[in-house]
């Protein structure tokens, strides 16, 4: 099961990197979103996907799944959510202000 998840994460990283290297800003932002998904899947898989009850005490189970990666992923999801929201607005502002069509036009060095 871990191997399967890792392969999925690998595919997500591949697509994410491909999109990061593209010319349109929106594709780049989608690429970062895919990358964070891959990171979260990795975080879940490397801890080991053992069979067990969800980590809630009242289930009266003998074995639970590892709660720590879940807490880490939850934290990381919120952070990347905030970042994605910020970069989307930033991209919008930059688009309105600079009217660029692809990232090549964001080179500097003209007069400002």
């Amino acid at each position: 099961m871990e191997a399967f998840i890792i392969v999925i994460a690998g595919i997500l990283v591949t697509i994410g990197v491909y999109m990061l290297l593209s010319k349109q800003l929106l594709r780049i932002i989608l690429g970062t979103a895919l990358l964070t998904h891959a990171a979260h899947l990795t975080l879940m898989a490397v801890g080991g996907l053992k069979k067990g009850a969800p980590p809630l005490l009242d289930e009266a189970a003998t074995k639970y799944t590892d709660p720590i990666p879940q807490a880490l992923i939850l934290t990381s999801i919120v952070i990347s959510f905030a970042l994605t929201a910020f970069v989307l607005v930033l991209g919008y502002r930059a688009y309105v202000r600079i009217r660029f069509e692809d990232m090549q036009q964001l080179k500097g060095y003209e007069d400002e």
């Binding site: 970062t32 990171a39 964001l106």
Partner: protein
């Protein structure tokens, strides 16, 4: 020693920032709050330095959970000194902000953002948990994104897009690296990690993970992977650039120092060799950039890169002397970079441009600014009575002692080029005919004099009082070469 003081450098800026959000329209009140909060945090940090020197490492088990299970905040000498210096430098930058930033920024939350930045920086220095380090990195970075973009000029929007995107990728790599490390060791607390890694032996898998950490921190600290830095540090207003240059890359350097002295110190032939190579290349490329440009902002930004290479070179040598040298140089560099960015910002605001060829003869009516800049330039290059010398001498001495003669030569040569690049700024902008008459100046530049003199006094004091400072730095180096001290303090705490 469980001590509640350890959390105060994180909580004070956080609360101050939160309160300041409500004071949006009251600019004077915001300024007072900012100074009071940073001053209070500096006082706490000073007390921490004193306590650590007398009683050993101070820890705080947050929430009362014993060490490997909860989050531990740890103030050893390395963290305490860095927190203290960061507060002092932030005070000076804050003073310069008052004068230079303008009403528009002040009523759009610049002071709260600076406090949140400080909260993140102090938290990164003080935390003893690797995932918590990630969270504090993000606190710092998110504040820095907004500070960089605030104002919304074309150049800011353009550069902050690049800066945000590259840091998002680096943060994702950080999460993945933490995931791998957790998968291999099952621990997140740094002291616990150190114990587990030592027990398991740092095999190939852990060495790969450590190199992944080196890449992540290398992006944050502009170590070899610095391509994002020159442009993004040229975009924000001078006061913000000063606080970035003094604090942001230093958090990355601290993380490298911490992880490679505490956790991954078992395979120096691989990890430390990579570090040495990256340090040397950073020095070379940074120095080349500093020499190549004729824009004040670019020259200063490349100078940030050179010093990162120099410090990481010292961390890579990893002897006791070189680690002391690295920490001393890091402290000096925080002060000196803030100083030179503030003065450079003053020159830019007086001349209204950062192109060196268009600035001339400022010394006629800004003599004080000129001589402060001269002192800062000499300190950056490491001329003996000033602060840059002691650290450089220690680093180069221990580098040659351990057989890295070629790298030491690169370090010396980069110092020469650094001196040339800042002297170029000094000679071009202060000497020569006065092209700009007094009334044509775009700003007085007088606001930079007070923070500039404070920082220049610190630079001189750090150089003259080296013995006194080195006594503290030595304690930090002692802990870095003997990670057992750190582990005992964290895991044995009640």
């Amino acid at each position: 020693m469980n001590n509640n003081l350890v959390v105060l450098p994180i909580v004070i800026p956080l609360l101050a920032g939160a309160v300041m959000i409500f004071l949006r329209e009251y600019r004077r009140l915001q300024r007072v709050t900012g100074i009071l909060a940073t001053g209070a945090a500096a006082a706490v940090a000073g007390r921490l330095v004193d306590l650590v020197a007398r009683e050993g490492i101070q820890t705080l088990q947050v929430g009362g959970w014993p060490a490997p299970y909860g989050i531990t905040l740890v103030a050893d000498m390395l963290s305490a000194l860095l927190v203290f210096t960061a507060q002092i430098v932030a005070l000076a930058c804050l003073l310069y902000t008052f004068d230079s930033i303008g009403e528009e920024h002040e009523s759009h939350y610049i002071y709260p953002l600076m406090q949140f930045l400080l909260c993140g920086v102090n938290g990164s220095f003080l935390t003893g948990d690797i995932f918590n380090l990630f969270v504090f990195f993000e606190v710092t970075l998110i504040a820095s994104y907004v500070l960089l973009a605030l104002g919304g000029m074309r150049v800011q929007l353009r550069e902050s897009l690049k800066y945000v995107l590259i840091n998002m990728v680096a943060s994702t790599l950080f999460v993945i690296a933490i995931g791998y490390l957790y998968g291999v060791t099952g621990a997140l607390n740094m002291a616990h990690l150190s114990e587990r890694v030592a027990a398991a032996g740092q095999g190939g898998l852990l060495t790969v993970v450590s190199l992944l950490f080196l890449i992540v921190f290398g992006i944050k600290a502009a170590l070899f992977l610095y391509v994002w830095l020159p442009d993004s540090y040229s975009a924000p207003p001078p006061a913000v650039a000063a606080i970035f240059a003094a604090l942001l890359t230093k958090v990355g350097i601290y993380a490298i120092m911490r992880t490679f002295t505490l956790i991954f110190y078992h395979e120096p032939r691989i990890t430390h060799t990579v570090m040495l190579a990256m340090g040397a290349l950073t020095m070379i490329f940074g120095a080349m950039g500093a020499v190549a440009y004729w824009s004040i902002r670019k020259i200063l930004a490349y100078n940030v890169i050179v010093s990162v290479g120099f410090i990481v070179f010292a961390v890579g040598v990893a002897s006791r002397d070189s680690l002391s040298g690295a920490l001393y140089y890091l402290l000096h560099d925080m002060v000196a970079k803030a100083l030179i960015f503030i003065l450079g910002g003053a020159i830019i605001s007086i001349a209204g441009t950062d192109r060196l060829r268009e600035i001339n003869g400022l010394i006629r009516y800004r003599p004080m600014l000129g001589w402060l800049f001269f002192v800062a330039a000499l300190a950056l290059a490491g001329i003996p009575p000033l602060s840059g010398f002691v650290g450089k001498a220690m680093i180069l001495g221990s580098g040659i002692e351990s057989g890295h003669v070629l790298l030491a030569a690169v370090g010396l040569l980069s110092s020469l080029l650094v001196l040339y690049s800042v002297m170029k700024v000094f000679m071009q902008s202060f000497w020569g005919e006065t092209l700009l008459s007094e009334d044509e100046a775009h700003a007085t530049g007088k606001g930079a004099l007070l923070p500039g003199s404070i920082l220049a006094a610190l630079v001189i004091g750090l150089g003259l009082g080296a013995d006194w400072v080195l006594a503290y730095v030595d304690i930090a180096a002692e802990t870095m070469v003997n990670p057992v001290q750190y582990i005992d303090a964290v895991l044995a705490a009640p």
